[in-house]
Symmetry: none
Subunit: 232 residues, 4 copies
Amino acid sequence: MRFPEAVDADIEDITRALSVWSGVGAAPTPKNVRGVRTRQHLLKAATEAFIRLGYLSCSVEDILQEADVSRGTFYAHFKSKKAIFAAVIEESLDSRLRGTAVSEVDVPLVRDRIEESVRRFLDSYWRGRGLSMVIEQVANTDPSFRDIRLIIRDSFARRIAKGIRRQQARGIADSTVDPAEAGLVIIAMMTNFAHTELGWRERRPSEEMVDLLTRFWVQGIGLDETAPVISR
Amino acid sequence: MRFPEAVDADIEDITRALSVWSGVGAAPTPKNVRGVRTRQHLLKAATEAFIRLGYLSCSVEDILQEADVSRGTFYAHFKSKKAIFAAVIEESLDSRLRGTAVSEVDVPLVRDRIEESVRRFLDSYWRGRGLSMVIEQVANTDPSFRDIRLIIRDSFARRIAKGIRRQQARGIADSTVDPAEAGLVIIAMMTNFAHTELGWRERRPSEEMVDLLTRFWVQGIGLDETAPVISR
Amino acid sequence: MRFPEAVDADIEDITRALSVWSGVGAAPTPKNVRGVRTRQHLLKAATEAFIRLGYLSCSVEDILQEADVSRGTFYAHFKSKKAIFAAVIEESLDSRLRGTAVSEVDVPLVRDRIEESVRRFLDSYWRGRGLSMVIEQVANTDPSFRDIRLIIRDSFARRIAKGIRRQQARGIADSTVDPAEAGLVIIAMMTNFAHTELGWRERRPSEEMVDLLTRFWVQGIGLDETAPVISR
Amino acid sequence: MRFPEAVDADIEDITRALSVWSGVGAAPTPKNVRGVRTRQHLLKAATEAFIRLGYLSCSVEDILQEADVSRGTFYAHFKSKKAIFAAVIEESLDSRLRGTAVSEVDVPLVRDRIEESVRRFLDSYWRGRGLSMVIEQVANTDPSFRDIRLIIRDSFARRIAKGIRRQQARGIADSTVDPAEAGLVIIAMMTNFAHTELGWRERRPSEEMVDLLTRFWVQGIGLDETAPVISR
DNA sequence: AATGAATGAGGTTTCATTCAT
DNA sequence: TATGAATGAAACCTCATTCAT
């Protein structure tokens, strides 16, 4: 991984924020193996139900039916609908955040590295578009969940900003660009393009999309397209 | 206005789509001045209530209290909560769509013209951020409203694409860029930057933002920054 | 007419009962010719609306639309929905009650006279089935309107009972039959057959129906089928 | 029982029709004894409330008060007011339809058998007059419930027609009478006499009524009053 | 740990009638 | 006499959550 510490810190932040949001101290881990299985089962069922119906339209009843479990059992494992949603989000978080970090790819140019980032972002979004759309729904509905959404967003944006800063230091990117702000612009562009085109219109990611987004990113920060990656 | 016919056509589309969505044929116009005033009063109250609470959390009751009007009066003027929301949206549409069309500005360069577009977009978003956020909420909640959101989006995107095509024809923009797709990328970037930074974080539009977004737009399509506007 | 005085008395009773039911003292006759016309217009519209929708499902709004008249006008002429319904009923009463009285028909046998009564009853019901069904609806819904329905019913029943008594006196009908009770049975049979078969199933009156109902009536009271009508 | 299969088939038809009418697939049977008890309790309370107030004037609130149960409980057991009404009707159906089938009575004459039918009909109506009146109300109000009412009616009418056909075959009833039509006339007479005199006027069934109705039935179809029942 | 019945606050909508002009 | 806006009580239904077993 590229920035494991940073990502871990962000994940910790989000976990904490989710706790606060859902009003649940800590996950009350089940005592025995049966409990663990039921919990997992519920999480899976809830994930599917949320994806299928959205957070708001998905009633607890829907989750119960999906899981074929009684109401009492549900509330024994999760304090509320909010709580199970928080758990679902948290579970899917690692892969979402780590999956896009460009790691062991061996490409010669910085430009290619960015391209690979974009490609992974789109692919990752495509695979997880179900939950992403639910997250967007809740962020646009519940003001206090919005903060969590912003933490996630900033986690991505900071990574991009860091890259820009490094590139500016090497003299291969326009130094008049504000890295933090440019990170926000890039994340806005990618996030919303994916949300709308992949999520809403269900277009599959294509190399044309990757090219275009890479182009805006690279040109936007004035990156030297011929600059090589510095070997570690 | 620049493309008045096109905008008119889009507005018509949206009005029609809103009619279908809200399940209401046509607004039953009040028949005397008192009725008109009450209707306006209700629209204003609803706008404020929707902005304050969001569409979902805003009950008809909330609108009634805001307007200090009885339940019966409300339903005499609007068939449903959906219907008044549609009316609110429609009312705010003109300014939103027309307000961003670059018209009689006198600037020497194409780049400046784009910059002016960006500036107006941010300013317009800032002023109407309340409703914009509600629209986003509903689009992320009600699948059938999403279509309306997409019509609005595409209206903007098409305008941008049209510009790119003209610039390519003049040889002042990179001809390898797909104008339609680039339009979507640009609108994604601008929309979501505004939504998040102006809407969520309540940052006021600044010249730095304008510069940065203009930069991504201009560089992204490979525009010749020195190309002059063709006088009409 | 056969029993003009009796019928008049019944109609008076019903009018009075309708007044009480609807809570309206007397019809506040309009002052000028314009008022009279509007009133008639409203009555006609209400009749059609009630027939089309039934009393309960017919809102005041429906009547207004049918008449193309404003709410205020409506309430200027009729105190309430009940009141206009009462007026509608009253207006249609004469024909309903008098239309079935066997008058100047020249038939040789008593049996034929009964047959003619049955025929007229069915024909009259068929023509007025719309309102009849509405009346039945209200009678089955509003306990206090039920009394009015019973007055109408008894008016018919008494006429039949009177005939039976006369026939018994002449020795051409079975004297063990209780005339009043038999009248109720006959009116039950005719009323409900008509309500169900003509009203609900929309079967048109046929000579077979007339024959069969006549048969039950005549045989039920043990009438001598060959007995001649006594000339007046 | 006399025609058990036929009655069963009719009951099935009605149950199905009620399902469609109420928009409820199948009653979600409670899963333990407590639930069953509450369900029964609700049914009983609803029956009383419907009888006391009529279907239309009886709000769900009224049922809740009668049963002393919360809104949520009600809707956990029954999907809607329509649904519980359908259940109430269905429950009272068996006894109503089966209770009038002349079974193991030992009487010498066909005439006596009919008399017994009439007696049972009146007695059964008297006991269930509350619900019968509600059914009539709904049938006269809701066009789609009318169909159900007609199925019930035809079930009775067919049974009577069957008897007439058998009697005609034996040569003990007038063969010129159309059995199906006569069945409708007889059921109209009995139903409406009972509805009005027992239901509305609350007169108790008497032997005089039985005699008179039997008389109209027997004479109407031209039955030989001395014909003996054929032993099975 | 699991079950399923019970709760009740909260939401949208209808409609007969009154009132100001 | 006519108009049409305004009223407010009352109806049905949903659903997250609690509780008894």
